[in-house]
């Protein structure tokens, strides 16, 4: 739908044309002292192929929705916004495109990055090129350890293990009596770290909880019949998974086919990323399901989120997943950072000034308030809950909805040791 290279070049063309058409507005905005008249160029790097392509598309849609609104309202300090797209793929190629955006296209800021493997390449490059980089989903963690405790130009996503921590909290709260657990997670850092973290937090509540089976199929596997047979054999009280792509749907369907969750509870920490494919026919009620950092159907959502969900549904025929808000927040916070730094400097701020201004800044994002912590880590809230069929859709939603702020479920600084923090912070009351 949204992925052809040609279409995407066309998109860039349109963005360019938009900037030209927007010329009169730019002229009128020249009145603002010290602000250049040409458009602000924002480099956007969504994943376009492979299992994470839908995630990339969602992030891009969030950014595009933002750009349209900002341009309608006159741009950033009167400068129109122009989006320049380059694809995120493997770390090496993405790094080259990142350099191209920085050195050749000379963009003002680059947003994007979903894979942490890519983030580990982009972080140091951003510092070296002195290029502002605001990540969507990528961190610069190696395992659970931070590789860049105090960067200047890089702004990273929420820690990778946050959802697993939230899932464990909800397990302890809602699924009492769980003693034996099995995990099925993708065979790469995120999968392994989520599983380890989930167990560590759960043990703070249920010290005698123990793992009876660990499965690590690689990302992209489309048949879990054999894995499910192994789970049936191990008979755990609960199955935990951090699957986030199409494999969530496949696992759920193949589990339903053998009635797995009739006798077993489950915690899908991240499955809400593909929420509208989790049809009621094969997704039972009573499972823990995490929607990451935006839940499209949240009753307490802001007017902004409600408008976004409505327009997204009208345009794309589906309900937005969380990545939209990672995208939206990065560009909205950039705008706020520029405006804040402009007030202080009296002219269009340098990248260093914007970076400084971003530290600790808080903006109204789609899912509510979001901010950049002083050490350049994104702060937001996570939405997890118990699956229910009581809704107007043909897929499951959650009720009750637990809103878990990162101030509660993420270690407080980049230099904090994760396990030490878990063992000293949990169990939380309530």
């Amino acid at each position: 739908m949204e992925t052809s290279r040609r279409e995407f070049l066309k998109g860039v063309g349109v963005a360019g044309t938009g900037a030209v058409l927007g010329f009169p507005a730019v002229v009128s905005a020249q009145a603002r002292k010290g602000v250049p008249s040409d458009p602000v160029k924002i480099g956007v790097m969504p994943i376009r192929a492979g299992v994470a392509a839908p995630v990339g598309a969602a992030g891009q849609r969030g950014v595009e929705w933002w750009a349209e609104r900002v341009n309608k309202a006159g741009g950033i300090l009167g400068r129109k916004v122009e989006l320049v797209f380059e694809e995120e793929s493997n770390p090496k190629d993405t790094l080259e495109r990142f350099r191209k955006l920085a050195l050749q296209t000379k963009v003002d800021v680059i947003v994007g990055g979903i894979s942490t493997a890519v983030g580990l390449a982009l972080g140091p490059a951003a510092e070296e090129l002195k290029m502002l980089w605001l990540s969507w989903d990528a961190t610069t963690q190696k395992g659970v350890e931070e590789t860049m405790p105090k960067p200047t130009y890089s702004f990273r996503s929420v820690d990778n293990e946050v959802e697993a921590i939230g899932g464990a909290l909800l397990t302890a709260k809602y699924l009492k009596g769980v003693k034996t657990i099995a995990g099925i997670n993708n065979d790469y850092s995120y999968g392994h770290d989520c599983w380890e973290t989930y167990q560590a937090v759960l043990k703070r509540y249920t010290p005698d909880a123990k793992s009876v089976l660990e499965l690590f199929p690689k990302l992209g596997v489309t048949d879990f019949t054999s894995h499910i047979a192994a789970i049936q054999q191990a008979k755990p009280d609960l199955l935990m998974t951090s699957f986030w792509s199409g494999d969530t749907t496949i696992l759920m369907k193949q589990a339903a086919a053998v009635g797995l969750f009739k006798t077993m509870k489950a915690c899908f920490t991240t499955g809400g990323g593909v929420h509208d494919s989790l049809k009621k026919e094969f997704t039972p009620e009573g499972l823990i399901l995490g929607y990451n950092s935006m839940y499209f159907n949240y009753a307490g959502a802001s007017a902004l989120q409600k408008q976004f969900v409505r327009e997204y549904k009208a345009k794309y025929g589906e309900y937005p997943p969380y990545e939209c808000d990672h995208g939206y927040f990065t560009v909205e916070s950039y705008k706020a950072g520029v405006e804040k730094a402009y007030k202080a400097a009296g002219e269009w701020p340098s990248k260093e000034q914007v970076a400084k201004a971003l530290e600790g800044i808080e903006v109204e994002s789609l899912s509510g308030k979001r901010s950049w912590r002083e050490d350049h880590v994104q702060m937001c809230s996570f939405f997890q809950g118990i699956t229910t069929h009581k809704n107007e859709f043909d897929f499951v939603t959650i009720d009750p909805v637990e809103v878990l702020p990162t101030t509660r479920i993420m270690k407080p600084t980049t230099s904090t040791k994760l396990l030490e923090w878990i063992n000293s912070t949990f169990p939380l009351k309530g």
Partner: protein
Amino acid sequence: MTANLINILLGGVFHAAILFLVAAGLQVVFGVQRIFNLACGSFYALGAYVGASAVNAFTGAGGPPALFIVPLALAGLLVGVVGVVVERGLLAFVYDRDETFQLLLTFALVLMLEDIVRLTWGTAPYSTSALYLAYGQVNLLGATVPVYNLIVIGASLAIALGIGWLLTRTVFGRIIRAAADNREMAEALGVDMRRVYAKVFTLGTALGTLGGALVIPATAAMSEMGIELIVEAFAVVVIGGLGSMRGAFVGALVVGVFRAVAIAVYPELEMLMIYLVVIAVLVLRPRGLFGRVAV
């Protein structure tokens, strides 16, 4: 205990059933045309997408869910027609060239087909919703088994028998075997090799697309699903022996069941197990269990 054993074995056999169809497509093409068709995984993905579309259109038009297997199998077979187009339009030009060209061309097909899939169906996983459960489950000695899995296993077995019959009991089969044995001689005896090649390649393609279509209700289509499978299909071919149908059958069973047992007994070995078998076969029987050609 028995229930667990049945679950594990049937899980493995189900996986093997799909693998067999793709590997059989690979084998029949290699056996006759000496082309190692890397695109067989892409045909599998294409079959999955087209099959899912056909089924969704069928149920969307009010077709009874219980009959979904009819449009599914038909679509899977019909999309095999791409084989003629690919063979006449592309492969026909490289038969006289070095094998490297042929390999490169089929690899180019992999990339092109993946993009075509993305352009047509988008990047999000595409599925037939809950039709997988339409046939319900049966209880086999305490194990709950989805009936659809049994249908797929049965269909794959029937196709294996059908191919066996085709190759050994029909004129076309004799021609195929003759062409595989000695192309020049077959041509000298009046066999029109162009037609044989087109037919064989279409047969190979249709096996792959049918495999993709059959698996789709149980899973969800993703544009890169072909790449995932081709790796395992390679293992099947190496174990069974390049160019051998019997090899594809036994190889698929070995890969499917060994993988299932590994997952149940020692999950860390999930992928490694298959490669260990491949290595063992390469060391002990370099031509594969049923291979006649040196690999």
